[in-house]
């Protein structure tokens, strides 16, 4: 059971954030502090803006035409990530992302993990070997794949592929890991493994996870933020959200009465 500390200092601070896709507003005045080395779950019905917020944190929304921050700011370690001095490439090395649909490259398992380091120009074989092993161990995949590192990553099962994507992300040593419904395409056994993995990772990384699965949020997060129609309705320690929500909308959602 995750310990419900709130004393941890925030790593990401979102203040008064308004975000639009073209002329369609997606987020209104969101204020949210994400604590370091904890798991923060973003929940809410489809279209509530939780994925949009997640993709703001590593500026993946930059790739969508017309998507822009209208007002407010996102600060990571106190730096406004939309500021003119921020290199989005450097930002993404610090804020890694795991996607809803596992997306390993059609390369070997080894090359998938080494990809991020190779981008940075690392050629040293010994270092690559070390990082590959360390990352696969970190993602609880090493024992399953150590004998077939040179085989295609596409030969892995869905759950293994998703853990491979997590290993690939931690290989570049980010501080924050964003997870966009990482288990929505997985069966319950694979989901349980990912959730266990999240528990192990939370001691070293700050994790933000978007999920549609309320039990998942309850099981593996320290903080939960409930979104509805582009607004942050309630943000509190997970136990409070699920046992004594302050807002009636939150209560209705977590008890399954809508959404």
């Amino acid at each position: 059971m995750p310990n419900q500390t709130t004393a941890s200092s925030p790593i990401v601070e979102i203040s008064e954030l308004d975000f639009c896709y073209g002329s369609v507003p997606a987020l209104h005045g969101v204020n949210l502090s994400i604590p370091a080395r904890q798991v923060t779950a973003l929940i809410g019905p489809s279209g509530c803006g939780k994925s949009t917020l997640l993709r703001c944190l590593n500026r993946m929304n930059d790739l969508i035409e017309g998507a822009r921050v209208v007002r407010g700011s996102i600060r990571i370690h106190g730096v406004d990530i939309h500021g003119p001095e921020v290199d989005v490439i450097e930002l993404r090395k610090h804020v890694g992302m795991v996607f809803q649909k596992s997306n390993p490259f059609p390369k070997s398992i080894y090359e998938n993990i080494a990809y991020g380091l190779r981008l940075q120009g690392v050629r040293d074989r010994a270092r690559l070997d070390a990082v590959v092993e360390q990352s696969l161990r970190g993602a609880a995949l090493w024992d399953e794949v150590k004998d077939r590192l040179q085989q295609s990553a596409l030969g892995l099962s869905g759950g293994q592929q998703q853990r491979l994507c997590i290993a690939r992300t931690i290989a570049v040593e980010p501080e924050v890991i964003l997870m966009d419904e990482p288990c929505s395409a997985l069966d319950p056994v694979a989901t349980a493994k990912i959730e266990e993995l999240i528990q192990e990772l939370r001691s070293r990384y700050s994790i933000v996870i978007v999920t549609h699965n309320m039990q998942q949020a309850a099981r593996c997060s320290d903080q939960t933020a409930f979104f509805y129609l582009g607004r942050l309705i309630e943000h509190a320690p997970t136990r409070d959200i699920f046992t004594s929500p302050a807002n009636p909308q939150t209560e209705a959602y977590v008890s399954g009465r809508f959404g």
Partner: protein, 346 residues
């Protein structure tokens, strides 16, 4: 005993008849195509193989494949009818006493072979495809990965589409005006490369764009999220996986580049040239020389020289070799594509 009736018993014969007639029509159309195609191929293979193959070892007519075209001289000598190529005939006249003033009938291009045409066509294809792929893939990458959809980009796409509909003779005229005259390249290999490359550009661009679009979006997202720049993403996570598709398009391009006569007749092709393309004094001359080419040679020997009993041999032999060459080049590309595909499948 009457036929068993149940609720699925067919009701109307007319409906079945109509169905049968329609199927028969479609089938007949398909077979007509097969017949026409098969007829053309069989004719060329049958008549051409008599030129290209021979009864004695090495069973392939190496003279036809690996020597230059010559005039054929036909004459009576010692009561026998003799047929000789130009060089052989000169040697014969010097060697044999009393042969110096033998009268012979001459038929141009009916002896020797087509080696300069084979070499010329291969060079034209290689150069034009390299150019077209370099320019075409680059612009496809720009259009599908970088450019934001706007009025200008829509205009560019429209232009590309229109370019695909331009008849090849117009490309020939364009190449003649632009490269041969304005750039002063004369009738040359390089003018032919550019003209042919321009002709296949629309095919290469359109197909490359399709191939790039077919690469799953997730791979781009994964690369970017790991801190790749746009170009790193394209180079390592998009282009390699689009390559098989791009190659497929270039296979079609190869057949067109090798086959079109109109674009090269003003820009690159010579009726006849004694020297082979690599027999040049300075390296730069290589680019600025005209070459013989298979499709143009077929045109010349079929319509530009007097027809006689000896011309058919060259016409069909050249057509046979031409078909074979295009098939070989295409087969090589398909093989390469399949190997890439097996390695890079997602």
């Amino acid at each position: 005993m009457s036929a068993p009736t149940h609720r699925f018993t067919p009701r109307s014969g007319a409906r079945r008849l109509r169905e049968a007639v329609v199927v028969a029509l479609f089938r007949a159309a398909t077979y007509a195509v097969l017949l026409a195609g098969g007829g053309v191929f069989a004719d060329i293979l049958y008549k051409g193989s008599r030129t290209v193959f021979q009864a004695e070892a090495p069973f392939i007519n190496t003279t036809f494949l690996f020597s230059s075209p010559e005039s054929l001289h036909v004459f009576e000598w010692e009561g026998r009818r003799r047929e000789m190529g130009d060089r052989e005939f000169r040697a014969f006249r010097e060697r044999e006493p009393g042969a110096a003033d033998v009268r012979a009938e001459s038929f141009v291009y009916s002896a020797g072979g087509i080696w300069p045409c084979i070499a010329g066509t291969l060079l034209l294809v290689a150069g034009a495809m390299s150019l077209a792929l370099a320019v075409g893939v680059s612009s496809a990458v720009y259009l599908s990965e970088y450019a934001r959809d706007g009025r200008f980009i829509r205009f560019v796409r429209l232009a590309i589409l229109n370019l695909a509909g331009v008849p090849s003779i117009v490309f020939g005229l364009f190449g003649f005006g632009m490269f041969v005259i304005f750039f002063g390249w004369n009738v040359s290999l390089i003018a032919g490369w550019f003209t042919l490359a321009f002709m296949v550009l629309p095919v290469v661009i359109t197909a490359s764009e399709e191939a790039l679009k077919a690469v799953p979006q997730g791979l781009r997202a994964a690369a970017l999220a790991l801190g790749a720049t746009r170009w790193q993403t394209i180079r390592t996570a998009v282009l390699p996986y689009a390559l098989p598709g791009i190659l497929t398009s270039s296979i079609l391009g190869i057949a067109r580049v090798a086959g079109e006569t109109a674009p090269i007749m003003f820009t690159a092709a010579y009726v006849v040239r004694d020297r082979l393309p690599w027999e040049v004094e300075r390296a730069v001359d290589f680019l600025f020389q005209g070459v013989m080419a298979l499709p143009y040679h077929i045109y010349v020997v079929s319509s530009k020289i007097p027809q006689n009993e000896y011309t058919e041999r060259v016409q069909y032999g050249t057509a046979f070799v031409f078909l074979l060459l295009v098939a070989l080049v295409a087969a090589a590309s398909i093989l390469l594509r399949n190997r890439l595909r097996a390695r890079l499948r997602w």
